[in-house]
Amino acid sequence: MLAKALTGSNRYWGWIVLLLVVIGVGFSCYLWQLKEGLTVTGMSRDVSWGLYIGQFTFLVGVAASAVMLVLPYYLHNVKEFGRITVLGEFLAVAAIIMCLLFVIVDLGKPMRLLNMILYPTPNSLLFWDMVVLNGYLLLNIIIGWHVLEAEYKAVSPPRWLKPLIYLSIPWAVSIHTVTAFLYAGLPGRHYWLTALMAARFLASAFASGPALLILLCYILKKYAGFDPGRAAVQKLAGIVTYAMIVTVFFVALELFTAFYSQVPGHGMQSLQYLFVGLEGHRGMVPFMWVFVFLSALALVLLINPATRAREKTLLVACGSVFGALWIEKGLGLVIAGFIPNPFERVSEYAPTLPEVLITLGVWAAGLLVLTVLYRIVVAVKKESALGNEG
């Protein structure tokens, strides 16, 4: 089956080469970072996590969202998703690989990574995050591969796979819950110290992940000649709509609690920093208003049944959801947690060029994995479709 990845059009190969180039650039920047230290990034003693950990957090959500296909299909028999659950599972695989890479590039001493296994520390949530992320990666590789292989051989998937599929449902919830706990359990980081964090993470994950899937389905239809079907896309659009409404509602809850209570240490200062600036520091303000604009646009296009049904407007809505939540979670959440610092000073963060290139390199690596996996899926699907007709 793997051999299918080695066949493809010129456009396919062009895309692969492009990704390899971006990976190469990112990797050389990473070698430089290894040599010089994290001084080549924009992080500081005050904002000690930045773009890398932001991407990690965002992508855990994308990975978890595969459950939004698996759960309806296997538990509620939503037939439309039958053709595309494997797309969700392979998206999860690619996203988790990116997550792990982002953690690695963020480490000061990556060669000591194994210390997490050599000295397991169950009181650390990072330890549990490692456990659940790797477990989820494995689950999705096994499930995705066997489901696809069964389709390839035109047999039904092995029976032992079912329990694993059921297991993957709570497991998906666990990866994003544990990731939220990384943040929500820290004293003194007011913006993160909220019981809503895990719920917020899950809601935004179930919006951004399926939104990305809709975009990917469109790309597959347009460029790979594989149509997941309008019904499946519309079902996904419904999920995105509800999840986006809940996400925006949760953000509004945070804003209410912070600003009505007027307790500075209830995230008020961080939210001020994000939306209006704090003590003259306004680095995130433009981004956050783009977030507001994109969220509003997405909600209008999604809630209105006519625009949700029309392909063009749905794509715009999904792009907006993805962009908005990338800003909110991949940038704002992490940075604002460090602002103000423990001394109530504001020191701002902006990523450096090498940092951005390394980030792009990791994204390209994830896209490469995704492209190869989807290439195989499409080839198998096309063949089995022919087989069915013939």
């Binding site: 500081s44 003693r45 000061g108 990556p110 997490m116 330890f127 004293p187 423990p342």
Partner: protein, 260 residues
Amino acid sequence: MKIGAVGGLGLVFLPAVKGFAGSGALRDAAGAGSAVGRKWAMVVDMQKCWERGAECRDCILACHRAHNVPEIPDPEEEVKWVWTERFEHAFPEQVHEYLAEHLRDKPFLVLCNHCENPPCVRVCPTKATFKGDGGLVMMDYHRCLGCRYCMAACPYGARSFNFRDPRPYLRELNPAFPTREKGVVEKCNFCTERLEEGLPPACVEACPAKALVFGDLDDPSSEVRRILSASYTIVRKPELGTRPKVYYVINPGLGNSGGR
């Protein structure tokens, strides 16, 4: 090169504070070594410190020299174990607009609080940060991954990350203490290495005003306990439940300053 060689020697401080004889109470800082400390703490009397004048940096210099703390010019990447902050920054939740001037504009010494309930220890995925004997919050520079989770967890900004190789930024080298590599976190260790030899922390020893007092909280007759029972003292951010063990005498003249 020499620095590198030193850095390669035994960098790991074990938690065992082995140098103490098991008898006697710790009465004053200079006698730190004569007791088994089960709960080390520091009391900072800022009034005494200020009487020396704002230029005095003896404690900071002594600490940073003893521990090979680099002088990195970029404030964003600074490494520091002990330094000063104005009241409003050291105690941000305890300021108000009309705070007495003698508090507001004065520097307060800040360092790792060696919290009784340390969040940095709770989050570290490798036990590179751990609680050792005497309640000291310690670090193993050989095990640290540089994930910086502990920096996010510490509510006191007490931790520094080596964003670059610190060795070129050392003025002088203390061969008795390890240097660090780039990519690991570090912080005040309450001079574990000196406590092992029965010496008080370097900052305590260096302070010409005797403003820093070090001792055992579990010993009711220790000087730290005596000051704590006689003076109004505060700790940083008590509301977070970390239970810091660096105390600040706030209003001198209310019982403690005449007593010594």
